[in-house]
Structures are given as structure tokens and as C-alpha cells.
Amino acid sequence: MEQYPNHKINYSVAFIKMALLFLLSALSFGLLAALQYIIPGFGRDTFSFEKLRPLHVSSAVFWIILGAMGSVISFFRQHKRRKLKNQFWIKVQFYIFTLSFGGALVSYCFGIFSGREYWEFHPLLAIPIAIGWIVFIVNFLSNLGTLKNQPVYIWMWFTGILFFLFTYVESNLWLIPAINDNLVKDMTIQWKSYGSMVGSWNLLIYGSSIFLMDAISGSKKYSYSNLVFALYFLSLFNLMFNWGHHIYTLPTSLYIKDIGYLVSMTELFLFGRIIYLWRSSVTTAQKYFHIRPYRFLLAADVWVFLTLGLAVCMSIPALNIYMHGTHVIVAHTMGATIGINSFLLIAFACYILGKKKNGNFFKSKWIDIGFWVINISLVFFWISLIVAGFIKSHWMFHQPDVPFGVMMMSLKPWFISFYISGCGLFIGFCMIIFPLLFNHLLRDENNSFFKRKENHNLKEMVLD
């Protein structure tokens, strides 16, 4: 990795490392929260679920955002092979996000909430995050120059960054009384913003994965092709208009649901394309499987197929009513967050943190074992949630007289399986996170830890 003499800290690495710490936090709080499903009332009066769930969900969102930022900054730093403009403002961006996100987690521990999905912190904290995002936009645009002759991932980052800010502001519109006092209107706008916001950060992450695939294959043909731009515009179209599928059961205007349904069905093109390209994907997989970041990209492809298949089913209103409000939705979210977003970001983290100066990757048995532990655990995790979801769905439609608590007890075997596979995910991710963090510490010559260790060894030699 190139080191520039005019700044001591490489902020692209700092973003990715901080993101990995938030991933660790998401996993830890996720495990604690899941324990409440198998031991009802566990931590009821100390660390109850209304605190643990936001700690888990927000940490996962912060991991995604910081990881995506790190990959965008890494591109400008390494791929463009030039000094970053606005070094000072990148530093400001890093500290604003780290402090605000850290502050949000601390506020949850004290029971301070806004009570909104994803962004459950007090609305005052939304201000520094919005300012930080504006700083990110300025840093991105000043380093970008022009959109002309740029590959698709630059377009994806550009639109992802702009739409994130828009939807983030939109998600805070509930602070306006005219929206907040009407539950149906509030929920419509809330899920409009969330649907598009998830699409925005997906654009950031998928863009990073295309950039990474270019770097691995050494070819830029794909990222400039007309087909990939057509798929990008299809994704953008879905980001803008498919969010209605979140609220089929809400008594909002019918045309919102119809638009959401019709637009969501265009995802069938993406689904069909994966099947059509299956054979060539297998050939590519055999060619690059020895490259560690590629393995995660490949695993993410498999999870895109599974998650997209489930998403298409959920987007049909007549099927959606059987899955809405059940654990099938959780399976879909977890499959997308872990199997797609996290795998793509881990691939990028391996690319940035797991490389030697000569460009080869560090050998790490732990990361290789971790890869398989995560994938096997995720399959069981996903299936457990889907089965639990179907049992709940059966209860909703056919057992109206059975109390909620009794139904939850009947799900216990699946929650235990969900918890055990969750432990597997925790262990698997730890096997990847720690080698990535420590590999980098040991080889970074500018790093104080390295120097301290070197000085300590020197002192020992003198004393001997």
C-alpha cells in the first residue's frame, strides 16, 4: 500500500478498521439480544430488548456505512495513484462519524431513543451525521473531477451518496407535526425513505465490489459495458420506486402499492440474469477461487441469488401477506446484510488490510476457516428463521385463539437453532476480523504499535 509522507494516518484504512469494530459490536449485541428469544425475560430489568435491538441494528448499519466510505476513499487513494484532495476534511469526516455513531450507541445504553427503525437515536444526533455526510459528498466530488468516461462504480457511488443524504433527511420528516400526527402518512414516508436508503447503501457497496472485481481480474471491460450501465439504471429505478412492497398491509393509497409491485417485478430480470450466467460464473469462480477477496464476492453472489429469490416472492402482495410481520422478513434482512453487504465489505477489507507490500495476500488459516464457518452457519441461521416465519404465518392465519406467548414457545427449537448458528457466525467473523486488524498493525511501518514493539525488542536485546 502506498504511504504518503504528508499525513501520518491512512484514513481509508482507519474507516475500514472502525467499520470492523462496529461489525464486532453488531455481532456481540446480536448474540445478547437473540438470547432473549430462548430465555424469555433474560436481562428484562437491566439490558432489555428495546436497548439491545437498536445496539445491534445500528452497529450493523454503522459497519455498512463506514465500510462503504472506506472503500470509496481507498479507491481515490490507491487506484487513482495520487494524493487525496481535502485531507483535512476526510479527517473531519472520520471523526464526525466515529463520534456520532459511538455517541448513538452510548445513548441507547441510557435508554434515549427516537423510536424509529434503523436510526433509533435522539434526533439531535441526526444533525452531525447529516453534516458529516455533506462533508463526504464534498470530499467525493472534489476527488472525482468529472463523471465523463467513468466506470459504472463511480456512477453507483455518486448516486448512492446523493440519495443517501436525501433519504436520510426524509427519514427525519416525522419531526414535522403535519406528518407525525397521521400514523398512516408517517409510516408511508418512513418506509419510503428506508426502502430507498437501503438501495442507496447497496449502490455504494455493489459499486465497491465491481471496483474490486476489476482489480482482481485486471480488466475494466465489464465496468464500462453498456449492459452493466443498463443494470445500474434498473437498480436506480428500483431504489426510487420499489419501496411500496414494504407497506402492502398498510392502509395507504392503493397506487403506491401497485407501483411498488410493478417495479419490484423488474427484479426478475436480475434474477433471470444470474441463472443465465450461472455456467460462466462457475468458470470464473474456478479461475479466481484462490484469491481470498474473490471468495467472499463469490459467496455474496450465491446469497444475492437466494435473497433476491425470496425478495421477488415477498414483492407479490398475495404472497407477501403470508410473510409480512414474520421471521421470513428477518431471514431476508439477515441474508442481505450478512450474505451480501457484509461479504462484499469483508472482501474489500481483505483486499485493503490483508495484502503485503508486494501485492500478495497474507496467508491466514483463520480467515480461510472463518469463511466456511460463516457460510455454513448462515445457511442454518437463514433456514431457522424461515421455518420460524412459516410457523408464525400458520398461527396468524389458522390459530387465532392460540395466545402469542404459546405460539412463541412453539418456535423455541428454531430459535435455539438460530442462536447456535448465530454463535457460529460470531466465531466465524471473529476469525476474520482479528487477523485483518492485527496483520495490518504488524506491517504498517508508520504505526506506533509497530514502533513500540520494535523499541521493546531493542530494549530487551540491550538488557540481555
Binding site: 432473549q36 424469555p40 425475560g41 428484562r44 430489568d45 430488548f49 428495546e50 436497548k51 435491538r53 437498536p54 431513543f113 423510536g115 424509529r116 433509533e120 465523463k148 468516461n149 456512477w155 448516486t159 426524509e170 420528516l173 406528518i179 407525525n180 400526527d181 397521521n182 400514523l183 398512516v184 402518512k185 409510516m187 408511508t188 414516508i189 419510503k192 453498456n226 439504471f233 436506480l236 429505478f237 420506486f241 407497506i247 402492502y248 398491509t249 398498510l250 392502509p251 395507504t252 393509497s253 392503493l254 403506491i256 402499492k257 401497485d258 407479490i316 402482495p317 398475495a318 407477501n320 401477506i321 409480512h324 410481520g325 414474520t326 421471521h327 428477518v330 392465519f397 387465532p400 402469542f404
Partner: protein, 137 residues
């Protein structure tokens, strides 16, 4: 006639999509969804307590929210008010006691009364059509 540059086609597509998206967005902001009505002052207070206590971490409204507790959209028509108040008073073996004041409990009950009037969240009551769409009562 010279062919249009690919860059111009991309910019044109992007601008058109953004224009349609923004028009749709601002139309939605100004529109009041069919059948819905605003909450009264007490119910509005109840909604804020619902948010401040982060009730949606465990409970759902219209199937949106957490999965540890039941959906509460129509709890007001399913359970007597005294039952709702008793749970708000002391919690359950799973739900903590939030030490709510009597005014807060009144506000939350008013909120549940209001959510119940906005529609039904029971999927059994929806009608499915052959084209895959659904209609609500």
C-alpha cells in the same frame, strides 16, 4: 445525423429518473393517504411515548417493527382497556416495567385507540386477487 454520445444518454436517463422520482416524492408529501385520519392531541402524546420507550423494538404496527412481542395495531379492539392498562402498569415476564405515570398510560391507551381506527392489520381479512394484488377491508 451524428449518433448521441453515450455519456449524454446516461446523463439524460439519470436526469429523467430523478425528475420523476422528485415529482412522485413531493406529490406523496402533499397527499393524505385514503381513509387515514390525524390523531388527537392525547393520541399524539401516546405516539411520542411509544417512540421514546422504543416500543417498536419488540412490537409491530401493521406488521412493521420487532418480533419479540405481538402486533398492537388493533389491540384496542382485541383486548379490554383494563387488560392493556394492567400490562402498561407492571409489564410481563418478558416486557419490563417502564414505570409509566398515569398520564403516560392514558396517552398510550389513546394511541392504541387511534391506531385501531386507522385500519386492520389482520392478514386474514385481506382479499387476494388473481393478479397477485390484495385489497383491504
Amino acid at each position: 445525423m451524428a449518433p448521441i454520445e453515450p455519456f449524454k444518454i446516461k446523463v439524460f436517463t439519470f436526469v429523467i429518473l430523478c425528475a420523476v422520482f422528485l415529482s412522485y416524492t413531493f406529490w406523496l408529501y402533499s397527499e393524505v393517504p385514503a381513509k387515514s385520519k390525524p390523531a388527537n392531541t392525547l393520541a399524539e402524546k401516546g405516539k411520542m411515548i411509544w417512540q421514546q420507550k422504543n416500543c417498536s423494538a419488540c412490537h409491530q404496527l401493521y406488521g412493521l417493527g420487532g418480533h419479540l412481542g405481538p402486533d398492537l395495531t388493533n389491540v384496542y379492539s382485541r383486548r379490554p382497556e383494563i387488560y392493556i392498562r394492567a400490562i402498561l402498569q407492571a409489564g410481563t415476564p418478558v416486557m419490563p416495567d417502564f414505570h409509566l405515570s398515569s398520564k403516560e398510560k392514558d396517552a398510550l391507551v389513546a394511541f392504541f385507540k387511534y391506531t385501531n381506527t386507522t385500519g386492520t392489520a389482520d392478514p386474514k381479512s385481506f382479499t387476494q386477487h388473481l393478479d397477485g394484488t390484495i385489497s383491504q377491508p
